[in-house]
Symmetry: C2
Subunit: 373 residues, 2 copies
């Protein structure tokens, strides 16, 4: 068995950007990396082969959704999530905590875990750290996240303190049932809201527990981007250099660039896939809303500098027609393009870090964004 | 320019099945052939490259829909439908007649044409034979259908007689504006309802006009399958041997097998694509409804004898999960499989005719259908 390993390969000369490589039993992941979100055992509208073609190295799957439907025991019986969904590269699973709070009804937090009602059928469930790990292992996850509470923002300091302490106790219980050295790596999640001392305390407690990687949770929850960047700047250096750093649920292309500049290695966000289904398309020169009448007879591709399958073969006029006609292919092509945009952004960042010019890459990124189309 | 040509290559030894080849400027079409339906400038959920991979040689596009949205002038301006939708093989366009009656509101038939209200925005339009041809030419259609009325079933004989005579006059007007020898072939449509003498009269009138191919219209409109087969048996021999014969809007796999046995060369139907989106999947051993609870933990592919991408990579359990979760990929994978099934059925038929064993092919088809899964 190939053990989980992170190689910190290079530090950018000017910024905090890091070049790295994760190795695990299902392959290698060049970092910084963006993980497309495959909530229900599919990255919406994408074939697994197409995800690979555009450079996706790892995807994220949601424990909450798969636990409720089709059920983790069914997926275990079917040979695990990789086989079920025909994806043989690494999968990171979240712990279910975030969705329990955002989607479940009548959530009640106790020391044991969180009780909630399913948003699908109203059935009652109790999700504990131990059950979260059991589900993630049944799925066959390569990177398992500790069960935690994503603290709402803003919250009173006393709430943040209590929640952060409880999340640390939950993280310990996760480590107890998923010891190091097995088939799945365990990542801890630094909480602490916008309180620096609580973030520090959380980071220290996780390091005492000992995990294979560290995430920042509770960011991109409604705070200003500057506040998020400041918290990244504060919290990321509290983590060990030699292990991967993941900022959960982040974010926009700008967020990714700024996160990389501050030393973050891994990101996930529904933005490229969800925006695609709403007709919001990324390009080097800013976002396009393909619904707009201005694209009615526009023969250009979404992004004239993009080399993706969609930009090589389809006009804005056609994509607008598909969107207006509510065609399945609109979601398929728009998602393909947006994910390609994200993957290209990350590949460019890795190249730039390798060549010690990430600062210039970031400057060019902003210059292009501000260029009038 | 390559002129439109049909080569009648071989007649099956026992049945009326024919092997043929259509040649036109955008490629060759081995017949019998099934044309996937791409109503709004896309075969729902399918990439053009995937359509080619599974053996589609020609697709059908709908004049009514494209005229209303995005508009034929826009598509002309974008370089034609082939370029607009990224499909470089032949396209057959219907005349719009059928959809005007089935989708339009307040239809009124006059000698000049049919006035109707758009089902999209209520706008009023008059579709004439001349406009239908103009639209189909703006789209860049390879095979243009004459404008006709698809007679409702049942209808009084007097209505059938009047409508059939008017459709013949409309066919003449179509030929007048689309003479033989140009870039697009013109196919006539034999009407006459379930009245044999009117079918004969219609077939004769079309031959006097002179068209590059002949369709049977007004079938699969609610009559018993046996009635349809009898009408095929009666009407197909009225048509010239050396030109392609197309039965419009047909049909089920059984209908295709029976149509081929009676000498039909071309078919189109929304069944494989529409059924796919409703979770109804074709297999050698009959249809599966993937929604059913029996497939919850079924690790088999849809059809264990099918070699398509979907059957090689996904279980019934996964496809059921996607369907139940209302995922985009459900439509994508189900459509892929169903169209592959239809294409494989036709490829097998062509091979069987070439080897003078279509009768056995048909017998095997029914034997498999009746096999318990």
């Amino acid at each position: 068995m190939i053990p989980f390993q992170f190689d910190f390969l290079q530090q950018d000369a000017i910024t905090g950007a890091r070049l790295g490589r994760i190795s695990c039993r299902r392959g290698q992941i060049a970092t910084p990396t963006f993980m497309p979100v495959g909530t229900q055992g599919t990255v919406k509208g994408m074939l697994p082969e197409t995800l690979k073609e555009i450079g996706a190295q790892i995807i994220l799957a949601n424990t909450y959704h798969l636990y409720l439907r089709p059920g983790h025991e069914l997926i275990r019986q079917m040979g695990g999530l990789h086989k079920f969904m025909n994806w043989d590269k690494p999968i990171l699973t979240d712990s279910g905590g975030f969705q329990v709070f955002s989607l479940g009804d009548l959530c009640k937090i106790e020391e044991e875990g969180v009780s909630f009602q399913s948003h699908l059928d109203g059935s009652r469930h109790l999700l504990t750290p131990e059950l979260s790990i059991e589900i993630q292992q049944a799925l066959g996850s390569d990177i398992v996240m500790v069960f935690d509470e994503c603290i709402p923002h803003p919250s009173p300091r006393s709430y943040v303190a209590d929640s952060t302490a409880r999340s640390a106790r939950w993280a310990m219980r996760c480590r107890d049932v998923l010891p190091a050295g097995g088939e799945s790596a365990l990542f801890g999640i630094v909480q602490g809201g916008m309180e620096r001392d609580l973030r520090r305390q959380s980071a220290e407690e996780l390091q005492e527990i000992g995990v294979e990687g560290y995430a920042l949770g509770g960011l991109s929850v409604g705070e200003e981007a500057e506040v998020m960047y400041e918290m990244m700047e504060y919290a990321l250096p509290l983590l060990p250099q030699g292990q991967p750093r993941y900022v959960m649920g982040v974010g926009t292309p700008q967020n990714l660039i700024e996160g990389i500049a501050r030393g973050c290695d891994m990101f996930d966000c529904v933005m490229p896939t969800r925006n695609a289904r709403n007709g919001s398309l990324f390009s080097r020169y800013g976002k396009l809303n393909i619904k707009q009448a201005r694209y009615r007879d526009d023969q250009q591709p979404i992004d004239p500098t993009c080399n993706c399958y969609v930009c090589r073969n389809y006009s804005r006029a056609y994509l607008r027609h598909l969107y207006q006609s509510n065609e399945v292919l609109a979601a398929v092509l728009n998602t393909h393009h947006n994910l390609y945009y994200y993957q290209r952004l990350m590949a460019g960042a890795r190249q730039a870090i390798a060549e010690n010019r990430f600062d210039q890459y970031r400057a060019d990124f902003y210059r292009d964004l501000e260029t009038q189309q």
